[in-house]
């Protein structure tokens, strides 16, 4: 085994090329699926399968190397930098969608209803009613969009119902994760496992309620094609849900690694990284809850 004073540079790896093939297959499949090509769905699934295989293989190899003591503290720091800036890129991705939400509410919709010095818009969509969410969206233009009507919701989503409950659930998962973190730092493995299981269960419950919420939204006619409110609502919550799913999967991996005894009181970057990711996803939801449902 090599000494810890030299930086570990792995040699030769097939995982990246497998990942590239998988992700390209998935995207080609998706584009074809959107165009109604019959084999699109199965090719997407194949690509996704290759990507998942790559993820498990690659990360498994990294975990193995870590357990075998190939990494020194400098390698550990590289992973920390990598994870941190990856998360920053995620922040910017969400920022684009939050930006779209603010722009639509603060500029696009007021301008469409004739605010500001722009004389064109009132003529463009005469009778546009400035509302948020656009439930009373009954402009002539709305019905003529690309020849298909927009879906007009019949009622509002009740902020006090599922969304509030879901917020509570996700916040609670933040609390349980903090307890798990504390237990890890105190070195009490059984407690870590208990709190981690609770966190994962809360995450899964959140996702379940979110699916129920989507079902309800579609029942009352709030759909992706319900104008800009539907667009921002579903894209923001949808990408958030995707991140909760990824976070829950990562927590399951961490749970497995805790059981295997991969972490010590002092050295547990894997846990820290995933925990931070979960807190981040949690905060994004809080932002969503406040900005989409309340102010």
């Amino acid at each position: 085994m090599s000494s810890k004073d030299s930086y570990y540079v792995p040699h030769g790896t097939y995982w990246p090329i497998i990942g590239s093939i998988g992700i390209a297959t998935m995207f080609v499949g998706m584009a074809n699926m959107f165009h109604g090509v019959s084999w699109g769905g199965s090719v997407t699934a194949l690509g996704l399968g290759i990507v998942l295989f790559m993820m498990f293989g690659w990360l498994g190899q990294v975990v193995n190397e870590s357990v075998n003591g190939l990494y020194n503290s400098q390698v550990d720091r590289s992973f920390r930098w990598g994870m941190s800036w990856f998360i920053f890129s995620e922040v910017m991705f969400f920022a684009a969608f939050f930006g779209a939400l603010f722009y639509a509410r603060e500029f696009a919709i007021p301008w469409l209803s004739g605010e500001g010095n722009n004389q064109f818009t009132p003529d463009l969509w005469n009778g546009f009613v400035q509302t948020w969410p656009e439930i009373a969206f009954k402009t002539p233009a709305a019905e003529l969009r690309n020849g298909t009507a927009l879906s007009v919701p019949t009622e509002l989503i009740d902020t006090w119902g599922l969304p509030a409950l879901n917020t509570a659930i996700l916040l609670l998962s933040g609390v349980t994760l903090t307890f798990a973190h504390h237990a890890l730092r105190a070195g009490e493995r059984n407690k870590i496992i208990g709190w981690l299981v609770a966190t994962i269960a809360l995450g899964v419950a959140f996702l379940g309620f979110q699916i129920a919420e989507y079902g309800h939204a579609y029942d009352i006619g709030l759909k992706l094609n319900s104008g800009i409110y539907g667009s921002t609502f579903f894209m923001l919550t949808g990408f958030h849900g995707f991140h909760v799913t990824v976070g829950a999967l990562m927590l399951i991996v961490i749970l497995y690694r805790v059981q295997k005894g991969h972490f010590s009181k002092e050295n547990h970057f894997g846990f820290e990284g995933v925990a931070w990711y979960w807190h981040f996803v949690d905060v994004v939801w809080l932002g969503l809850f406040v900005f989409v449902y309340w102010i």
Binding site: V283, L286, Y293
Partner: protein, 70 residues
């Protein structure tokens, strides 16, 4: 009220950011710091949630309803 809510969100983001920086630096001290920042952010989040719920209950802020904005 709106601005208080936004202020608390900013504070939460600061706590989260401090945790990130602590994670980045690594080591025992920073591990402690990261844990504390994350605990702060959880506490703040719960406070914000309760505040929003309470403010909504008291009618200080309105949920997004079918009203003209502004």
């Amino acid at each position: 009220m709106k601005y208080i809510v936004i202020l608390i969100i900013v504070l939460i983001l600061v706590a989260l950011g401090r945790a990130l920086i602590a994670m980045l630096r690594g080591g025992a001290d920073n591990s402690e710091k990261m844990f504390k920042s994350l605990a702060t952010r959880v506490a703040l989040s719960i406070f914000l949630f309760l505040l929003v719920m309470f403010a909504g209950y008291m009618g200080w802020i309105e949920p997004n309803t079918n009203l003209p904005i502004r």
